[in-house]
Symmetry: D2
Subunit: 361 residues, 4 copies
């Protein structure tokens, strides 16, 4: 079904379901300039018929596409790949139907992230109707699951705080360096992470200037972090995660506090992190003793697909602080999704994603 | 040396050393309207001779006092009480000399906070010259040391993040509820906490929008928290503290992560916190299931002397998250100082401090 | 109907209609600590029965009053004075009925600000049903109408941008210094000015960081400015006003551009402004050549009832720039309202309003 | 001197003088990914020898180039084109010497913007030493001077507020629609416009939340706007400009208030603006009646090279409000510079500049 681009190059035909939200808008931002992609169909119930730039003003001049109403048959017949960017619980059926039609899918909701169907009951409050499909879904972090993603029919993109935290903790777990019963993940996230729907808690006068804890216990991303760290560690781990809303729009910082099993040097940590990320195009190790950027800070990844990772040790109590920063709409959502697409189709993994962070902003 | 106010009421004569900084300015804001205080002398090397409202524009119209150069003799002879609000390391001699002159002192630097002189070497890099005076200094948290403060000649006000964190952890330690070896304090603080001196890291274009970890290990306030929790717990504890700069000017949130020794209910926690703070005028317990203010958030204490405290439990792994929020210039500095003054002089403890938070701001 | 306070002093009984909004909350903030006021009744349809601190968290600990449903009879029988803080168009009937019951009223909506009933049609889209009452309503700027306010039964508080702009332009118009056909008012205002109701335009991710023109022509406050300047100038004037939403919560800056009729010196301007405001407690003239505060800036009035005013001249083209800054919830709304109340009841005009701005915040 | 790129395509060799500032950093951000450019040399006195990503963290991973000390001979022999991004007054000699060496230059300082040497005395306080070179310099707005830029040896990029304002006023002046004696330009700009040097006025705690007028009269960009509008109008005009610092990092809004000479319709204005900008790739006309983006707002151009332009009319007093928004580091500086480079070398004018704005951010 692929089409040809102006220079004769094959392009895949791509659909975006739920394209009027922030994640959908960010996907469009990446896809309209991606050289291997033809944007075939973008859907929105609310804005069907409207130009996308009316909802996403930044795209004015970049595309003349309009929103279509949701139509699974059309998506099935027009698209090689569909990104689903609808709220949690809304993707579960859409994904199943598209899957059955043989379309490849990258889902950005939580509906196919967790392997254990019981966890949907605990964290989301509903029974997962397709446990079989859960087991076929690949968790979309190329740094952890690249080979599986390559051949996946269904990729489930990670939660924005989950992927950010995981990239910092993974090397520590992989090298058996930390006490897996006392991992504390303290996350800070910008307002775009809550989506585009206005509420009293997101109203500027009330949201501006907050350092607001929300779901200090039992946040849903906890389940993803535990799932993936358990796989790496080869045993069940328990993670203590507390997210906070802070006064930015884009960006996540995860401060991952852990306790070292034994006295460990900074050099050992470097080896662990470099060993894992040496060839990763989107993980940058940050540690400096001078300048403006000594540890990861989301300010310096805004607009890019980087997850910056750093760490420090407190020898007094064998504590390690592993820090990770990302743009929640990029590496935390749309950027990871496009990176997965590149892997799935054998494109250069960085295609369309080599965007510098915007600094200062 | 006390003077009479217009209505015949006695006022104490107060001096402020280092009155041009943010903490100094906030002290002046409180003192110019305090009914028991006559502002006798405010010093600033840099601004000697200038009207204070040139440096603190908010005071225009509230006082015509000008900055004086530092003069210990004049302070000694003109003041009943002196607040010292100079940088760490600069107060150590000033306080000693004023102390020897018999003036009562409330020091807002770190120079007399720690009981163990060795810790000055470790955390501040210098030998404390007056270990005897350290032992006489009272740590200025009325909620923990009210009786000692009453008769103190020297009160040392706590670090802003230390007092905020301590008020959340103290009830847990007092009731022996938590594992004292795995306390993680993750703090978030506004830019006024760094003082008024410009630098590349505080430059608006670089400081705006950050979620910047700084001193992720070995931050100086760690020592104060460990000192006080150790006193309460009756054993030496180790605290893991990591502060972050966030995109606000005023305010601190401390997310204090701890692990419960045994299964504990929310009701037990309520009892522990209520038992300790029931009669405290400046600690508010925050926990709601609806509305805009479910957990402590510095947005809702800005400008006030409150420390709001709340908590939640994750039964999955017996974790408790104790949250505390304050205005770093108020309960975190000048407000606590004035509260200590009220205690020292037998004034109503809330005198001059019953200021509502400014919401929304 | 007045009651006695604890110290035997008479207090007036005050009601607030529409107390759950931002202006209502700010009124409560001022009234709960006002020594001459007893808060008799506060109404809210949406929150009837709830403690006010559930909606206004900053008031937790300051009052145990709950919201009542609207009941004009109860308001009439329980209150000496009622503040009405409901949306434009909602006050018109409430005010009329309370007026007819003989209660004194301070209305914070626009419904009784304009003298010319035709303007309600043009700017608000409805016919004013009580033109007679319009003519009895006093426009609530004490600096312009103090004597009328003293005896008023109905005071209509000015629009937040209108009062801020008027205080800067009035001395120029009074002294016949400017071309009254080319007055340009360029206003910048924080998000609290738009009230507490969430919408896509006030959603943090979309409202944060804007410099958003709204109603660049025909903004409703234009009518108030023209009305009052016309009175001062003794002829009909036309004002060109354009407001902008900027990335703050509280505060207004009005940049009032005008052209001098003849070459004028800074000294002449000083005389005009000092002549008008010398004895005004809430207008501060700001003009400095060094320091942080050279011209008015809302940052330095936050939380206070001040309107700071300043100016400069461009001799090249005989232009004057008159600048004025206020807190839109204080001098722009609740602060002005309480100031009017103080005037109406012969209290000290600054009673309950001598609040320092909160700096830095 | 041009080199070949990997795909055999010719690249020009480019130098950047003063590459450690914000404008320099933004230039590098654009140049490292520009397909027609080889970055030959970037200079910084302060950071000579350091990797550029130490100063510009966003470039980590994009280039391994280090800062060189300034060396005019090397620049002359290594570069086809040099961008000079040094402070005003520092470029005047550097540009002259490079010019004499035959290198093409795009200067981002103000030193060669004004045609009338007298204006340097008035606005900058020094005598321009090279009035001849002033007359050869081309003012770098392609929308106004494309043909001259094509062959220019020296292009002087406009001031950020000047270009933003000019693009909004130019069509009005060109079509003789407005009173040229009463143009009021009210500008709002983010903190990056003040450069990277810390000061008390740019310190986060003091700069955050301001709406601060600075240079309300006689701002230097006034001269540029008057110069260019005078050319378009064919007579000397006088512009009244007042800039304000607002609480964002990137972005400019210019609210250009003018008075129509005669009754004019919105349709006439559309024709004037469309006539001038129909084929301009970086000017977008913004005017909508619904959605989030009804008028220009810098929030929606952040990171891009667009200048969004819109307008409205107040028939009551024949006023037009022409609004324009840009990113001060892009269309206001580095973006315009690269656009000029593309024109000078016959590249596709949008090469390297088709970057979507980052929304929301």
């Amino acid at each position: 079904m692929s089409t040809s681009s102006s220079n004769g190059e094959k392009r895949i035909r791509v659909g975006v379901v739920g394209a009027s939200g922030y994640v959908g808008g960010e996907l469009l931002r990446l896809l309209v300039t991606h050289p291997k992609v033809e944007l075939a169909m973008v859907t929105s119930r609310q804005y069907a018929g409207e130009y996308v730039h009316r909802v996403h003003p930044s795209l004015r001049g970049f595309t003349e596409i309009t929103f279509s109403p949701m139509d699974l048959d059309k998506l099935g017949s027009n698209c090689d790949l569909v990104f689903t960017a609808v709220p949690h619980g809304k993707a579960v059926e859409i994904v199943k139907k598209l899957y059955d039609k043989g379309v490849r899918i990258i889902d950005l909701s939580a509906d196919y992230r967790l392997k254990d169907p019981e966890l949907y009951k605990y964290y989301y409050g509903w029974d997962h109707p397709y446990p079989d499909l859960l087991s076929k879904s690949v968790y979309g972090i190329p740094e952890l699951h690249r080979d599986e993603i390559r051949n996946a029919k269904l990729v489930s993109c990670p939660g924005c705080m989950a992927v950010t935290s995981l990239l910092a903790i993974a090397p520590l777990a992989k090298h058996d360096l930390i006490d897996l019963d006392h991992i504390v993940v303290d996350s800070k996230i910008g307002s775009s992470g809550a989506g585009g729907k206005p509420s009293s808690g997101t109203h500027h006068a009330m949201r501006y200037g907050v350092v607001r804890p929300y779901k200090p216990v039992k946040h849903r991303h906890t389940a993803e972090i535990e799932q993936e760290i358990s796989i790496i560690a080869g045993r069940k781990v328990s993670v203590s995660m507390t997210p906070h809303a802070v006064n930015i729009v884009r960006g996540i910082l995860c401060t991952n506090h852990a306790f070292l099993k034994r006295s460990t040097t900074i050099q050992e940590l470097w080896r662990a992190y470099r060993g894992m990320y040496r060839n990763e195009p989107f993980v940058r190790l940050i540690r400096d003793t001078k300048g403006l950027y000594k540890y990861p800070d989301p300010k310096f990844v805004v607009g890019s697909n980087f997850c910056d990772v750093g760490f420090d040790i407190d020898e007094r109590n064998n504590r390690v602080v592993a820090l990770s920063a990302s743009d929640n709409l990029m590496k935390g959502a749309a950027g990871s999704a496009v990176q997965c697409m590149n892997v799935m189709y054998g494109f250069n993994e960085v295609e369309g994603l080599l965007i510098t962070p915007l600094t200062p902003v």
